[in-house]
Amino acid sequence: MGSWISSIVRAEHAASGGGLGAGLGDLPESCIAEVLLHLDPLEVCRAARLSRAFRGAASAGVVWETKLPKNYAYLMEKAMDETARARLCKKEIYARLCRPNPFDGGAKEFWLEKNRGGICMSISSKALLITGISDKRYWTFHTTEESRFKSVAYLRQTWWFEVVGEVDFCFPAGTYSVFFRLHLGLPSKRFGFRICNSEHIHGWDKKPVKFQLSTSNGQKVLSKCSLSEPGSWINYRVGDFVVDKCDVPTRLKFSLTQIDCTHTKGGICIDSVFIFPKGFMQGKVFNTSAIL
């Protein structure tokens, strides 16, 4: 009959001649891996618990390769040293990138949002240039659990309110939103209760604050917003920027200012600047209005 028949008969498939109750687990592992390609990362991890065949397929590099950002090699370099990088399989790389990864001296961190695989970033107040920060009459740093960096910058009072920051990073292609995380009043805990000290809050109702965002490839946002709602952390959305290519670094500059010297302002906490893929931000968001 020919060698091709014997090669078909030798084939590894679990074909049972039309199959009485063939199960998903009877498929070759390559087919199971292909099913997993269509599932998001958390579902892949859940599916790993179904059976040994699923566990094997769920660890396949080819499954996780499609979930990782295209520039994961660059992100790994930022996140770990060479010895740590060498040992990891694709799934472990994904898991590792999902952890907060400090960079630029540790006052900035990035992480992979585990379910959608987008890059998120937080820049601590310690990495921002705050005018007058070293003058303890005006600015102090406070330890708090309410910040992922465990520390926020608190302003008692100033005429010139200016907070500037920048970051240089190869973001995966996409659209990102930039936020300043701010709090009117100083939060603290006493006897297990959350307290907000509002004695220094003043000046924010006189004029709005201005936000700026610019990228190295010429994108610019200029906006304003009146700060309000003491006692809550608010993520003020400055605006968006677009990244076309993940292998080209984007240098981002952003600032928050209120330098109208006809009035003082104070009683504000600056936690950090967040950069999230557009639509990811979970906390309370206030949008700013574009200044044209």
Binding site: W4, A15, G17, A22, G23, D26, C31, R49
Partner: protein
Amino acid sequence: MAKMIKLVSGDGAEFEVEEEVAFQSKIIKDIVADADDVIPLPTVSSKVLIQVIEYCRKHAAVNSFPLSPSSSAAAAASSSSSISYSKPVSDPALRAWDNEFVKLNNSSLFDIVIAANYLDIEELVDLVLETVADRIKGKQAQEIRRQFNIENDFTPEEEEALRRENSWAFQNN
């Protein structure tokens, strides 16, 4: 007169199909050159073979008159890959037909994908596996095992080790 090829199922039923329909299967395309035009398929039942032929007939008609250069380019590109999946079918009418085609119970789907895998009909394999993925989404493990006939072959130690290994996915950042 189109060249005909005879396919013989595992339970002995014979199906005569046009060559271009049979050639949706890469295996058949490669072997017809050697043998005469009768191809026994001992591991495929007639019930499944009928369904596979139906798919191939529909897709052969479309593939021979591609809508646009890009759809045939996509087909060519996908045929050279191993475990990646082919690009989604671009013709909305064909996609709608595919979606109707896979409205089958899980058991039938598995039979089809096993046969399609064996016959190397990549687009059919991809279609079924994508359908399976959609049916798994959002379900708990117990439910998936029940619906899809999956045996839990882990030891308790293995289950515990797996829970620890994947704990990163279920922790809050």
